[in-house]
Amino acid sequence: MADKKWMPRWFYQLASPRWCYEITGKLLPLFVIAAILLLVTGTVWALAFAPADYQQGNSFRIIYIHVPSSILAQSCYMLMAVAGAIGLIWKMKVADMVAKCCAPIGASIAVLSLATGAIWGKPTWGSWWVWDARLTSMLILFFLYLGIIALNSAIESERTAAQSTAVLALVGLVNIPIIKYSVDWWNTLHQPATFKLTERPAMPAEMWVPLLVMVIGFYCFFAVAMMLRLRNEIIQRERRSSWVRDLIAG
């Protein structure tokens, strides 16, 4: 251990599934409370108190779901790739499990982002689907998630599945900026001067403060969903160890 002093201690503790199970058990109630408080406050604020947009009217309130879910879907992919890389490099079991749990959550959040984007498109553009750069990028991100889920479920051995999906997630991570750039460019080529949904200059504070609350609330919700899945995964994989047996028997 002496030569590895440069890594903080919790990093090694994190590698122990049992420690991880215990610490998430302690953190879970905190995040549940935070998520409920933030999401309820944010929703009430967004729906009832935030001012209506002068151009889009009240359909603007969809932003409080659409933007947080888009941000979360991207961060979730990032987390999945980073956790996968840690699993590949340090052969850390918990990191593999985190990466595996990210994929279904991220895919569902991407669906939420796409659905709200489409619903928002109806009053704004007059059609349910518009090949807007952001929506198209999100659709491709959703495809990347689907590919990872498909690969993970096709490989039987847990270790191989984790490593393969980690490689794929990293390849995807390198590609995401390229995809984003090319889709943006393609979009300006094909439909110049579209009405941008989110890039508005100077959003007043009454509008973006609830948005911030919702974004943080969504992150807390993600933490809760993640921990719930992670704890299942730990129990499932460590089912033969004595501490899990005690846990189940007791």
Partner: protein, 242 residues
């Protein structure tokens, strides 16, 4: 291949670094020879390419102006699908007869061997597709000005398709039903090449300068050349050991 011995001393390994032609050309020659002996695998993607392009006039409309409009996209999508179709067999036979394991165990730098295999794959699919593309262009009434754009963009774009597709092939080589899975993994990653490839053709048709598009396709190819063999190598090690 027999001129490469495991390097023991540093001096010998220095020499080895300069003798990179050993594993690279060896693997390239071997793959080309093997494909030459199985000629049907060579022709299948080309026939597929031709058929997909035929489906569009039949399915949508044989109107020349309409076809000229969609021709860049159709040719590019067809090339992309044809590459994808040939991807599954890339490492499959080597995996089944154990050659892949020997390659991974051998002291040759995996990077070079993988690069040679991808190059061989491109020479047998991407290059013929590029050469066949003008025929499709004519069939789809692509204006004559667009031909150069089509050939050049395919020439720069198809190697990237082979490189990225090889990552998918390497990840799924150990699985029995790899075929459909590869498409799921790889198609989203092909989108930037598709966008800039078909835009280059469109640009050539409308008489815009091609330099910018080709530069971006070239940049993607160089990025792929540097990074993809690393990912392919890692994926092969995982698939074979698993």
């Amino acid at each position: 291949m027999n001129d490469s011995v495991p390097n023991q001393s540093t001096e010998e390994s220095m020499v080895h670094v300069y003798k990179v032609d050993g594993p690279f050309w060896g693997a390239l020659k071997r793959d080309l020879l093997l494909s030459y002996r199985r000629k049907s695998d060579l022709v299948n993607p080309l026939i597929f390419f031709l058929m997909v392009a035929t489906l569009f006039p039949l399915g949508v409309s044989p109107d020349p102006t309409f076809l000229a409009d969609v021709a860049p996209g159709v040719v590019w999508v067809a090339a992309l699908l044809a590459t994808l179709l040939s991807m599954d067999s890339m490492f499959r036979s080597d995996f089944e007869d154990g050659t892949l394991e020997q390659i991974l165990l051998s002291p040759q730098p995996l990077y070079l061997v993988v690069l040679a295999k991808v190059l061989a794959h491109w020479m047998l699919t991407g290059l013929p597709l590029t050469l066949l593309a003008p025929v499709l262009g004519v069939m789809l009434f692509l204006p004559g000005d667009g031909m150069w754009g089509l050939v050049l963009s395919l020439l720069l774009g198809t190697p990237t398709l082979s490189l990225v597709g090889a990552i998918g092939a390497a990840l799924t080589v150990g699985l029995r039903k790899g075929g459909v899975l590869i498409s799921l993994l790889v198609l989203p990653l092909y989108i930037p090449v598709l966008i800039f490839g078909s835009a280059a053709v469109q640009g050539a048709v409308t008489g815009l300068p091609l330099g910018g598009y080709l530069a971006i396709l070239g940049a993607m190819l160089s990025l792929g050349l540097v990074m993809a063999p690393l990912a392919i190598g890692a994926a092969l090690r995982i698939s074979v050991s698993g």
